[in-house]
Subunit: 321 residues, 2 copies
């Protein structure tokens, strides 16, 4: 019988049942393991792997044809050298994270605009200060770098909250999906930064996106601008961002991703002015809806795979997404 | 010349100009004062007052015909005794606060659902914990008490974020405005509390709303429910809420209003489990859009007043809104 290995620490019973049932329909048996607990004596038996293993595991899976990761980012899995042979298909779970990460973006954006960290400091000392300058998403101009599932979900929410304009910026200029008021190519980014009140970054971690928000581009942002990054830390010149925050040439930043992660306790980023750091939680798998969507995406592609149709979530390992 | 007094500490130059110009068109002269700095020797000359004075000021304004407060709540201004004569019309600025307060509700709701205070504690110690249970507005059932400007603005945003159901609850059952999936009278509240994931309270402070969220009603909420109050603190049995939080029979609460305000440093509410206290800032006047709307509402009613039309923002002092 053909075999699937699932590294399933994030799954609930109903997810396991759903995968097992569907797999059986297509003639697959499924072994479920806790993360990184694959039975190495059986490693060569699996045709399909769904999970987030240490990359070194893959070499041992000599029968592997399709590897699906439950994450959206695939950086650890892009090098050819980690695979047992060149034919392994890689899919990701981009599409499972739009809801949860767009809610994270909304939350931290509102916290920055409404001075919530400063009010929380007041309250921590049981104080009572009622007036600090506050701003609104309503009427603001928002630029979103990365117009995939996450960027698009956020853009829709921002428009529903009354944002005046939401620009989408992507590697190559293409038509947007209506969530965006206008689309720009990355080579046009500099022209819209000076009008940007809120800059949201949801870029994958690829060689091409590294340093996208450079020192020069940070300098183009207005003083009241805030920056939110939920993509990959490598997309920002972090030194330049710290300088801009500490000199108050921008108003704040919320970073869910940074370099390195975890951020060392003595790293100067912790001390930057008006920074809101979260420990890479925006796509936290503990949210039920994220797990449900993630398993749904795998099941959809399992049916595609079994029926020899193209995989919907296929990643181009050269591009990195 | 007929005269208007404006207590204008929250205003910018363009607001002052707008009021002055419109007033002149209708034959009024306007004196602008900082809050509580009215020239008492002229108190009897003003036909109109726009501001938030100490209630004792009003008695001295013997020529007063119309008093407009820039706040939404009018509790200090409901007693007959504070007025120089029985003919004074009272208007409020409900309608100016829907945008800013609905953004506050969204922010604190997401903070509670996504465990943000706990993650902030981790980060404050430069720690790195990535997994804590998280929930989403998407798919949730939300009950909104008070279906005016604030409740309606929030309901629209919650639906745009994918809330499964948003119930509106008001004193008397009436048709909703499409922002709500269903409308209930306050006498039907008990039947929907057990299905409520998120309870949002935006009730005015009146004798009738006092104690709306009683001990009995808190007990009807599911364990995972969170409560957000942006109306008036008196609408909650605060002792019962603290008991429910501390025994974890509900999951959290975000209170922007409480009894008393400011909350004394030794009050036990500060120490309740999973509570997010803010110092009555959700309708903070420092937000430009709120000030603009507030001045717009006054100007609309100034035209109404001058043309002897009914005032749009008229408050029934007996009802308290």
């Amino acid at each position: 019988m053909r075999k699937i290995a699932v590294l399933s620490s994030f799954m609930e019973e109903h997810h396991i049942e759903k995968i097992r049932t569907l797999a059986a329909e297509y003639g697959f048996a499924v072994d479920f393991y806790a993360d990184d607990r694959l039975d190495m004596t059986k490693a060569d038996q699996y045709e399909i792997l769904y999970g987030m293993p240490g990359p070194s595991l893959l070499k041992h899976m000599t029968g592997l044809q399709w590897f699906c990761t439950p994450s959206a980012g695939v950086e650890p899995y892009t090098p050819d050298e980690i695979y047992p042979h060149e034919g392994v298909l890689l899919t990701n779970s981009a599409g499972a994270y739009g809801i949860t990460i767009s809610e994270h973006i909304l939350m931290v954006t509102l916290m920055l605009l409404r001075q919530m960290p400063a009010f929380q400091q007041v309250v921590a000392h049981r104080g009572w200060v009622r007036q600090m300058p506050m701003r609104s998403i309503c009427g603001s101009t928002i630029t979103v770098l990365g117009t995939g599932d996450i960027g698009t979900n956020f853009a829709r929410r921002a428009k529903a909250l009354g944002a005046r304009t939401v620009y989408g910026v992507r590697r190559t200029k293409k038509a947007g999906d209506g969530a965006f008021d206008a689309m720009y190519g990355m080579d046009e980014l500099n022209s819209i930064l000076p009008q940007t009140d809120i800059l949201v970054m949801a870029l994958p971690g690829t060689p091409e996106t590294a340093g996208t928000l450079s020192r020069e581009r940070i300098a183009l942002l207005p003083r009241h601008a805030v920056v939110v990054n939920v993509g990959r830390g490598s997309a920002i010149d972090q030194e330049a961002l710290m300088d801009a925050l500490n000199s108050e040439s921008i108003a704040g930043a919320a970073l869910d991703v940074m370099v390195p992660e975890p951020l060392p306790a003595d790293h100067p980023l912790w001390e930057a002015k008006n920074i809101l750091i979260t420990p890479h939680i925006s796509g936290n798998m503990s949210l039920g809806i994220t797990r449900d969507l993630d398993v749904d995406l795998f099941c959809t592609d399992l049916a595609n795979y079994a029926n020899r149709r193209p995989l919907q979530q296929l990643v181009n390992r050269k591009l990195g997404y």
